[in-house]
């Protein structure tokens, strides 16, 4: 019996050893097999003569022979294939992000058409020129300083290759935690920031920043001195916008609310309802408060006169250009189309178009029901309101929530326009404060309500593992983080913008002379009429008061 047991144990041991040896043998054989497969694939690759015959079906273009080989003697290796896969991922993400950035850049044309169309013909050139030159002012300011403040500490984005040169976040220790305040690397895109990934993120973030700047020109149209507008835009592109954008997107303290205080996943703003639109909207309110209403906008009893824009076709076409550009704005904010949850771009795009649709419905039905006409300019603003509101939550919510968010925004913009005009007595010719400010804030809040916890951008957001989840899906702390963002926008950003532009008012003066304003800004400010062959029709008496009467 004892001999039998020993024999059994010996057999078992032998089997185990044999099995182990087999495993080792298979492991050793694995690279050989793969190498053989690679060699086999290379041998089957189409020859130059085959390719010379043309490939109408696209079946033989792009094969193993297109993978670069690091060592021509050794031939194609697994390392070569892996490197190519990695570069393909980054290449896809670069291409996606750049193309989306180009779309966002084109939104400047949409803004120019909307704003100019909503202004009177005598100010068309001036309004177009503000929208034109804000691009240059913003880009320049962002290049020399703004980008460094915003993204100078934003290293770590795997979608774009790491962005490792951007490692200069200035921090502050408060309440036992370390908080990011502003970035420090990347000025002039020089030194280490002369990097392919940094260039991509610069272009994409720059066009976002310029969108925020152009919002202000709408609210202050028809009376803003071109010089002061230019200086104000440079300072906003260099300081105001980048500061808040750093706090939200550049690794700053708002993004750290999750890691430092356990507030959800930190302030979550997928594509910028807060960072872009609310910053633009609250700055527009600040400057509009300083600059005052247009001559003839309000009567002595405080009632408002409607000052009708000169070209509704430009407004509506401009809106469609903006809606088109928004497909760069929101889906592009994944910063990639490959890996880390980027395949959600389809959802983001659909959410975007749905919210624009319901926003239009909200505004059009409200105006039709309450005022009797499906007002064109308010319908246009409804579309934009829906798009603005969905910008922050587009990456975190489902299509039903998108529809609700857009619908609320469409109604909200109508109520807000009436409130700004009739209660605050602030003159906003294009409704920018309501569209971008009010609806932007609503978008920020809606993340804290509707985020459904299904998104997964690499397993974490703002350094907190898991998905962004709002109050309706069980995380009330996310709503607090969003409200902290709202407070920063209406408290810090608004206050800072007001103070900055107040100083500019002291030194430069924001407003053109009454004489220029009454004549229209095209000739006095730009030296050329927007439409020299147009025949001007007399304005209503309230809007054509003499210059001396306006200042008396």
């Amino acid at each position: 019996m004892k001999i039998f047991r020993m024999a059994s144990a010996t057999c078992a041991l032998a089997i185990l050893i044999l099995a182990g040896a087999g495993t080792v043998a298979r492991a050793d054989a694995a690279p050989s097999a793969s190498a053989a497969e690679l060699k086999d694939a290379a041998s089957k690759a189409p020859t130059t003569s085959t390719l010379a015959a043309g490939d109408p079906g696209g079946t033989i273009t792009g094969t193993v022979s297109d993978v670069p080989v690091s060592d021509s003697k050794a031939g194609l290796s697994l390392g070569d294939v892996a490197n190519q896969v990695g570069q393909n991922k980054i290449g896809i993400n670069f291409t996606w992000t750049l193309l989306c950035g180009f779309l966002v850049m084109f939104m400047q044309a949409g803004f120019a058409m909307v704003e100019s169309g909503l202004c009177r013909v005598k100010n068309a050139n001036h309004t177009y020129m503000m929208n034109f030159f804000v691009y240059g002012c913003g880009l320049f300011a962002y290049w020399i300083l703004g980008f460094a403040i915003q993204m100078g500490g934003a290293a770590g984005n795997g979608n774009l290759g790491g962005l490792q040169p951007l490692v200069g976040e200035h921090t502050l220790s408060l309440f036992g935690k370390t908080w990011g305040i502003f970035g420090q690397s990347g000025m002039f895109l020089s030194g280490h920031s002369y990097d392919v990934g940094v260039m991509v993120i610069f272009l994409f973030q720059m066009v976002f920043m310029d969108t925020a700047l152009t919002i202000v020109t709408g609210a202050c149209a028809e009376r803003w001195k071109f010089l002061t507008f230019s200086v104000s835009s440079v300072l906003m592109g260099a300081i105001t916008y980048p500061l808040f954008a750093n706090w939200a997107w550049g690794g700053g303290w708002l993004a750290q609310l999750g890691t430092n205080l356990g507030l959800g996943k930190g302030y979550a703003d997928f594509a910028g309802s807060g960072v872009v639109h609310s910053v633009g909207g609250v700055t527009a309110l600040a400057v509009a408060l300083i600059i005052g209403p247009r001559i003839g906008k309000f009567n002595r009893n405080g009632s408002a006169n409607a000052i009708i824009g000169h070209d509704i076709s430009a407004v509506l076409i401009g809106c469609f250009i903006l809606a088109f550009g928004w497909f760069g704005f929101n889906p592009g904010s994944t910063l990639g189309a490959s890996a880390a949850g980027c395949l959600r771009i389809g959802s983001v795009a659909v959410n975007t178009m749905l919210a624009g649709c319901t926003g239009t419905f909200g505004a059009l039905l409200y105006m039709w029901s309450m005022k009797g006409k499906p007002d064109a300019s308010m319908s246009a603003n409804g579309l934009l309101a829906g798009l603005v509101a969905i910008t922050a939550p587009s990456g975190f919510v489902n299509p039903i929530a998108s529809g609700i968010i857009g619908l609320i925004a469409g109604v909200l913009v109508c109520l807000s326009v009436a409130f700004v005009e009739n209660t605050l007595k602030v003159d906003d010719p294009v409704g920018a404060i309501s569209v971008h400010g009010a609806c932007g804030l609503w978008g920020v809040i809606s993340v804290g309500l509707f985020a459904d916890g299904t998104s997964n951008y690499g397993g974490a957001w703002n350094g907190v593992s898991g998905s962004v989840t709002g109050l309706f899906y069980g995380d009330a702390s996310q709503l607090v983080a969003q409200l902290v963002g709202v407070s920063t926008l209406i408290g810090f950003v608004f206050g800072f913008s007001y103070a900055l532009n107040w100083v500019l008012d002291i030194f430069l003066g924001h407003r053109v002379s009454a004489e220029s304003e009454v004549a229209g800004l095209d000739l006095p400010e730009m030296g050329q009429l927007g439409y020299p062959e147009f025949v001007f029709t007399p304005e209503p008496a309230t809007m054509s008061v003499a210059a001396h009467a306006a200042v008396a």
């Binding site: 000025m187 071109f226 408290g491 007001y498 030296g527």
Partner: protein, 129 residues
């Protein structure tokens, strides 16, 4: 008066000053960086001096001025509301506590931005004349 050559020249100076100052900050560790920063700030000061000098050339504007004290109160209230929120986050560790202080801060900011500043703006509004 509208746009003038003086405005164009002063804006050019402003851009030069901003660029030099930014270059100075970017290369502050070097001697040239410090020099560029100082030079940039001087040019900026010069630009703002010219802005102030040519401002009256614009002519009479349709604006009667706003009471500075009320404007200051509005700005301070807006920013103070935000300060309440930031410090309130550390007064309580509960979600409801933080929600409460955040909403209080937002309310204070709104008083500044939507009550005090519009009152200041409309105090001497052109349409009241």
């Amino acid at each position: 008066m509208a746009a003038t050559k003086s405005q164009g020249k002063s804006f050019t100076l402003f851009i030069v000053g901003v660029t030099a100052a930014a270059a100075g900050i970017a290369y502050f560790s070097s001697g040239m960086g410090k020099l560029a920063l100082i030079g940039g700030l001087i040019v900026l000061a010069l630009a703002f001096g010219i802005f102030l000098k040519i401002k009256p050339d614009e002519g009479a504007i349709a604006d009667k001025g706003q009471p500075a004290a009320m404007r200051m109160a509005g700005v301070v209230a807006a920013i103070f509301g935000w300060v309440i929120v930031v410090f309130g986050l550390n007064l309580s560790t509960s979600v409801s506590g933080r929600m409460t202080t955040t909403l209080i801060g937002i309310a204070v900011s709104l008083v500044g931005s939507l009550v005090l500043l519009p009152i200041a703006a409309n105090k001497n509004a052109i349409w009241k004349a």
